[in-house]
C-alpha cells in the first residue's frame, strides 16, 4: 500500500492511550493509600479502646494520663536538643563543603552520605555495647580499674539527644550544603576585601542570608526528631524515659494488656496535628526564601581560603565526626560480634575472639529475615517509584489533581512511621476475614511503601520539574501520546533523579525500624526488628552479628547508589 509522504490532510480521531489510564489509576491509588492512614488514624482515635464506642474517651484518657506532661516535656527536650546538636555539627560541615577550599571536601560528602545510609538503631546499638552501665566496654573497664560502678550511663536523655542529633547531621548536611552553595561567592570575597574576618563573614553575612533555609531545615528535622523511634526506643525505654514515639509503641506492644490502638491513635493524631502545623510553617518559610536571592550579575563559586591551621583543625573535626558517627559504632559492633560476652579490649579478650557468632544460627537467621529484608528493600522502592512517577506526571498535566496530591503528601508527611504501622495493623485486622493479609509481608510492604510515597514524591516531582516543559509540549504537538512521552522522553530525561529516589527509599526501607517492629510477629521479621529484639533480650553477640550483615547490605546499596548517581565524566 502506498504511504503518504505529504502533510497530514485531516484531523484524526483521538488516539487511545491505555497506558495513560494505568498512570492515572496508579496516581489515584497512591493518593488513596496516603489518605488511608490519615483517615484510619483519625477514626480509630475516636473509637474508645474500653467501650468500643465513638467519642473523645481516648483523648481524655491520654490528656488525663500522669505521663502526659512528662512525655510532652521529654519529647520537646529531645527534639530541640537533638536539633541543636545537629546544627552545631552540620553547619560547619556544610560551610566547609560549600564555601571553602578545605582539602577534604569530598570526604565530607562521603561521610554524610554514609551516615544517612547507616540505620540509626545500629549506631545506638554500637554505643550501647560501648557505654551501657551493666556490660558496656567503657564501664567494664572502669569497674576493673576503679572498683566502682558505671562511669557513663548511655540510657539517659543527654546521650539520646547527642546520638539522635549526630544521626541527623548527614541528612541535614544535604539540606544545608545546597543552600550555602547557592549564595554568591562574592559575598565573602567582598567581606574579605574589606578586612572582615571569616567568622564575621559566616555569622553576620552567610547565616543571615541563608536564614530561611536554616529555619526550614530546623523545622523539618524537628518533625523528624519527634517521630524518630530508634534512639528513644533503644536508649530511652530501658530507662523509662518516655517520648511520644515510645508511648505509642507501648500502647500497641504492651505485654500486660491487649493492644490499645485507640489510645495510640489519639496520641498519633495529636502529634500529626502539631507536626502538620510545623510543616505548614516550614513551607511558608521555604516560600519566603525566594526573597533572599543574590544581587546582580553572575554568581561566583565560593572558595573561602583556609589557612594551614584551619585546614588541620577542620580535618580533625571531620575525622572526629566520621569516627563518632560511623567508625566507632561499627567497630563496637565488630568487637561485640566476635566475643561471646562483652568485655573491654585486653589480651584475654583478644584470645577469646572468634567467628562463633557467625555460625549456623546466624546463617539460618540471615536466610530467613535477610531474605525478607532484601525482598522488601527491592519491592517497596520499585512500587513507590511507580506511584510517584504517576503522581508527578499527572500533577504536571492536571493542575487540580496536582494540588490535591501536594496537599495529601504534605499531610501524610506529618503522620509518624509508628502511627502508620498502627493504622495498617488496625486495617489489616479489620479486613482479615475477607482478605487475610494481617501479619503478612504484603501488609508490611504496603505500610512501608505508604510511609515513603510522600518522601519519594518530593524527589520525583523535583526531577520532573527540572525538565523543560517544551519537551512534552513538542511531543504533544507532534501527536505523541502522553504515556509514550512519559516512557520515552520524561523518564529517561529524569533518570538520575528517579534512580536517586529509588535508592533513597531503598535505604530508608532497610533502616525502617518502628513499622517493622510493630508489624512483625514470630514468622515475619526483618533484620532491623530482629536486631532490636535480640538486643532487648540481652543476646548481644547475635544482635551485633546481624547488625554487621545489615551493614554489609547497606554498603552494597550505598555503593550502587553512589555509582549510579555519580556525575558523568566530562569529555
Amino acid at each position: 500500500m502506498p504511504q503518504s509522504t505529504g502533510p497530514a490532510s485531516m484531523i484524526t480521531a483521538r488516539r487511545s492511550d491505555p497506558l495513560n489510564t494505568v498512570v492515572m489509576v496508579l496516581a489515584i491509588t497512591a493518593v488513596v493509600l496516603l489518605l488511608l492512614p490519615i483517615a484510619g488514624l483519625i477514626l480509630s482515635s475516636f473509637l474508645s479502646d474500653e467501650t468500643k464506642t465513638f467519642g473523645l474517651a481516648n483523648y481524655q484518657s491520654i490528656i488525663g494520663s500522669r505521663k502526659f506532661a512528662t512525655v510532652i516535656a521529654n519529647t520537646a527536650v529531645l527534639a530541640v536538643g537533638s536539633l541543636a546538636v545537629m546544627f552545631v555539627i552540620a553547619i560547619p560541615l556544610a560551610w566547609l563543603y560549600a564555601r571553602t577550599n578545605f582539602r577534604w571536601r569530598g570526604a565530607i560528602l562521603v561521610a554524610a552520605t554514609s551516615q544517612i545510609a547507616v540505620p540509626g538503631f545500629l549506631v545506638a546499638l554500637g554505643y550501647i555495647f560501648l557505654l551501657n552501665p551493666s556490660n558496656g566496654l567503657v564501664n567494664l573497664w572502669w569497674q576493673e580499674v576503679s572498683g566502682q560502678g558505671a562511669l557513663v550511663n548511655i540510657y539517659s536523655m543527654p546521650w539520646i539527644i547527642v546520638l539522635q542529633g549526630l544521626t541527623m547531621v548527614g541528612p541535614a548536611f544535604y539540606f544545608l550544603a545546597p543552600a550555602f552553595s547557592s549564595v554568591d561567592g562574592a559575598m565573602e570575597e567582598a567581606a574579605s576585601a574589606h578586612g572582615i574576618s571569616k567568622s564575621d563573614a559566616l555569622f553576620r553575612i552567610l547565616l543571615p542570608m541563608t536564614a530561611p533555609a536554616l529555619i526550614s531545615t530546623g523545622l523539618f528535622f524537628l518533625v523528624i526528631s519527634v517521630e524518630t523511634f530508634d534512639y528513644a526506643g533503644m536508649l530511652g525505654m530501658p530507662a523509662r524515659i518516655d517520648v511520644i514515639a515510645t508511648w505509642i509503641y507501648q500502647y500497641t506492644q504492651s505485654a500486660m494488656t491487649l493492644p490499645q490502638y485507640g489510645h495510640a491513635s489519639a496520641i498519633g493524631t495529636m502529634t500529626a496535628a502539631v507536626l502538620l502545623a510545623l510543616i505548614v510553617v516550614q513551607m511558608l518559610v521555604f516560600k519566603r526564601s525566594a526573597d533572599a536571592g543574590t544581587i546582580g550579575g553572575r554568581a561566583r563559586v565560593a572558595s573561602v581560603r583556609l589557612g594551614s591551621k584551619a585546614q588541620i583543625a577542620s580535618t580533625i573535626g571531620l575525622a572526629i565526626y566520621a569516627f563518632l558517627g560511623i567508625g566507632l559504632p561499627f567497630l563496637m559492633l565488630v568487637w561485640t560480634a566476635l566475643l561471646p560476652v562483652p568485655q573491654p579490649p585486653s589480651l584475654d579478650a583478644i584470645s577469646k575472639l572468634s567467628l562463633a557468632g557467625f555460625g549456623s544460627q546466624f546463617w539460618a537467621e540471615l536466610a530467613n529475615v535477610g531474605t525478607t529484608t532484601v525482598f522488601i528493600t527491592l519491592f517497596v522502592p520499585t512500587c513507590v517509584l511507580l506511584f510517584t512517577i504517576s503522581m508527578s506526571w499527572v500533577s504536571g498535566r492536571m493542575p487540580a489533581m496536582g494540588r490535591t496530591i501536594d496537599l495529601v503528601t504534605i499531610v501524610s508527611l506529618a503522620v509518624p512511621s509508628i502511627v502508620i504501622a498502627v493504622v495498617f495493623n488496625i486495617g489489616g485486622l479489620t479486613v482479615h476475614r475477607y482478605m487475610p493479609i494481617f501479619g503478612t509481608v504484603w501488609l508490611l510492604v504496603i505500610a512501608i511503601g505508604t510511609r515513603y510515597v510522600a518522601t519519594a514524591h518530593r524527589i520525583t516531582e523535583n526531577a520532573f520539574r527540572q525538565l523543560n516543559p517544551e519537551m512534552a509540549e513538542y511531543a504533544r504537538t507532534a501527536g505523541i501520546t502522553s504515556s509514550r512521552t512519559l516512557v520515552s522522553i520524561a523518564i529517561p530525561a529524569a533518570r538520575t533523579g528517579l534512580v536517586f529516589a529509588w535508592f533513597w527509599v531503598a535505604l530508608l526501607t532497610l533502616r525502617e525500624l518502628p513499622i517493622t517492629l510493630i508489624m512483625s510477629n514470630y514468622d515475619l521479621q526483618t533484620l532491623a526488628s530482629r536486631i532490636f529484639l535480640y538486643n532487648s533480650s540481652g543476646q548481644t553477640q547475635q544482635s551485633a552479628a546481624l547488625s554487621l550483615a545489615l551493614f554489609a547490605i547497606v554498603a552494597v546499596f550505598l555503593a550502587g547508589f553512589l555509582y549510579l548517581t555519580r556525575r558523568p565524566v566530562a569529555r
Binding site: A186, G195, G297, R305
Partner: protein, 358 residues
C-alpha cells in the same frame, strides 16, 4: 611613586600542569593613577585584579603595594586580602542583601580593617553616603534599590575605609547605557577627588576611554599595549587593539616603497595608499591596512565596490560594500542604497593605519 607593581606574575589554574592564564605579566600603576585593564572575556584581566585584591594567589612572580611586597614566590610570601589596603567594587556589587544600605557600609567600618567604634563608624557612614548622594537611602534594604543605586552603595562601601587602592571589576556592566555614561563621569571625579589609585577592569571601550588615565590592553594573559586612552585609540599597536576600540575596514597588501616618514602600500585587489611609515616596515613586507568607517565615505573616486546590504541604523544608513577582497562597512546620510549599486569608497588623509600581517 609606584602604588602597584607586578613583576613576572604567573597564574595557573588546576595545579602545576594546569591552564596558564597569566604569563610573565609586568605592570606598574602610579599613585593616584586610574589604570584600566581592557580586554575580551578570558584574557586574564579579572584574574589580574583578583590577584591584586588577594582573592587569587599567583603561582609565580612578585607583587608589591607602595614598595611593600604582598606576594613573592621567592620568599613564599602572600598577604591575605583582609590585610591589604584596598577597597573593591565587584561586578555583581556583592552587597549583603540582609543588611540595609547603612549597615552595609557601617559593618565594613566596624568589623573590617578600620575597626572603628560605633559612633565613629556612624559618622563616617553618614559622610560617605552623603558624598555618594545616597544619604536618603540609608535605611533601605539592598533589594529595594535600583541597579544604579546599588552601584553607588557598592562604591560607598569600597571607599568608606579610605583605601589607598580602589579595585573595580566591571563596575558599570550592570547599568543601562544612559546611566552608565553618567556614573562613569562620577567615578572618575570621585577617584580624582580622593586621590586614590584605581585599577578598573572592563571589556567596554567607552568605559576604558572615560575612566582611564592609562589603558592596558590585555590578550592571552599579556598586556599588548599600555598608554593614554587617546594614544591607544589613535595609534593602536595591532589590528586586534584597533578592533577593540571600534569597527575597522581592512585591506591586505604589501609595502611597495618607503620614503622619509611615508610608505606606500600596494593592495592585493588593486590600489595604492600612502600611509605613515612605521619602524617595523620593510619593502615587500605583507601588511594589513585598517580604516575606521568614520574616516571613510562614498565619493566619485576611490576603491570601487558593490552595495550588498543597506539599512537604517540610528541617524544614518549602514552599508555593506563588497570591494572584491573584502566587505567594508560605510555609513552615509540620506536614503538607503539599492543592492547591486556600484559605489566608490574614499578615505580621509591618514585614515589608513598599517599593521603587520600575521
Amino acid at each position: 611613586m609606584t602604588a602597584i607593581t607586578l613583576a613576572k606574575i604567573e597564574k595557573r589554574f588546576g595545579g602545576p600542569r594546569g591552564v596558564l592564564v597569566l604569563n610573565d605579566l609586568d605592570l606598574a600603576v602610579k599613585e593616584g593613577e586610574s589604570y584600566v585593564l581592557l580586554g575580551q572575556s578570558g584574557c586574564g584581566k579579572t584574574t589580574t585584579l583578583r590577584m591584586m585584591a588577594g582573592l587569587e594567589v599567583p603561582t609565580g612572580g612578585e607583587m608589591g603595594f607602595s614598595g611593600t611586597p604582598v606576594y613573592s614566590q621567592r620568599e613564599r610570601l602572600w598577604l591575605p586580602p583582609e590585610r591589604r589596603p584596598i577597597g573593591m567594587v565587584f561586578q555583581s556589587y556583592a552587597l549583603w542583601p540582609t543588611m540595609t544600605v547603612r549597615q552595609n557600609v557601617r559593618f565594613t567600618l566596624e568589623r573590617g580593617r578600620t575597626r572603628l567604634s560605633r559612633p565613629e563608624a556612624d559618622t563616617r557612614t553618614r559622610d560617605t553616603l552623603e558624598m555618594m548622594q545616597i544619604g536618603h537611602l540609608a535605611d533601605r534594604r539592598i533589594t529595594q534599590l535600583s541597579g544604579g543605586q546599588q552601584q553607588r552603595v557598592a562604591l560607598a562601601r569600597a571607599i568608606a575605609q579610605r583605601p589607598s587602592i580602589l579595585l573595580m571589576d566591571e563596575p558599570l556592566s550592570n547599568l543601562d547605557p544612559q546611566l552608565r555614561s553618567d556614573v562613569r563621569g562620577e567615578i572618575r571625579r570621585l577617584c580624582k577627588s580622593l586621590g586614590t589609585t584605581a585599577v578598573i577592569v572592563t571589556h567596554d571601550r567607552d568605559d576604558a576611554l572615560g575612566l582611564a588615565d592609562r589603558v592596558g590592553v590585555m590578550e592571552g594573559g599579556k598586556i599588548l599595549q599600555q598608554a593614554a586612552p587617546s594614544e591607544v585609540m589613535g595609534a593602536p599597536s595591532s589590528l586586534f587593539i584597533a578592533r577593540l576600540f571600534g569597527e575597522m575596514n581592512t585591506l591586505e597588501g604589501q609595502v611597495a616603497s618607503l620614503k622619509g616618514e611615508d610608505a606606500v602600500v600596494a593592495c592585493t585587489g588593486g590600489g595604492r595608499f600612502s600611509v605613515k611609515r612605521a619602524a617595523w616596515m620593510k619593502e615587500g613586507q605583507l601588511v594589513v591596512l585598517g580604516a575606521r568607517p568614520a574616516s571613510q565615505f562614498f565619493a566619485s573616486e576611490g576603491v570601487p565596490g558593490t552595495i550588498v546590504e543597506s539599512h537604517l541604523e540610528a541617524q544614518m544608513h549602514r552599508n555593506k560594500v563588497d570591494v572584491g577582497d573584502a566587505v567594508m562597512t560605510i555609513y552615509h546620510e540620506g536614503d538607503a542604497l539599492p543592492v547591486g549599486e556600484r559605489v566608490n569608497i574614499a578615505t580621509k588623509p591618514q585614515g589608513w593605519m598599517p599593521f603587520q600581517a600575521r
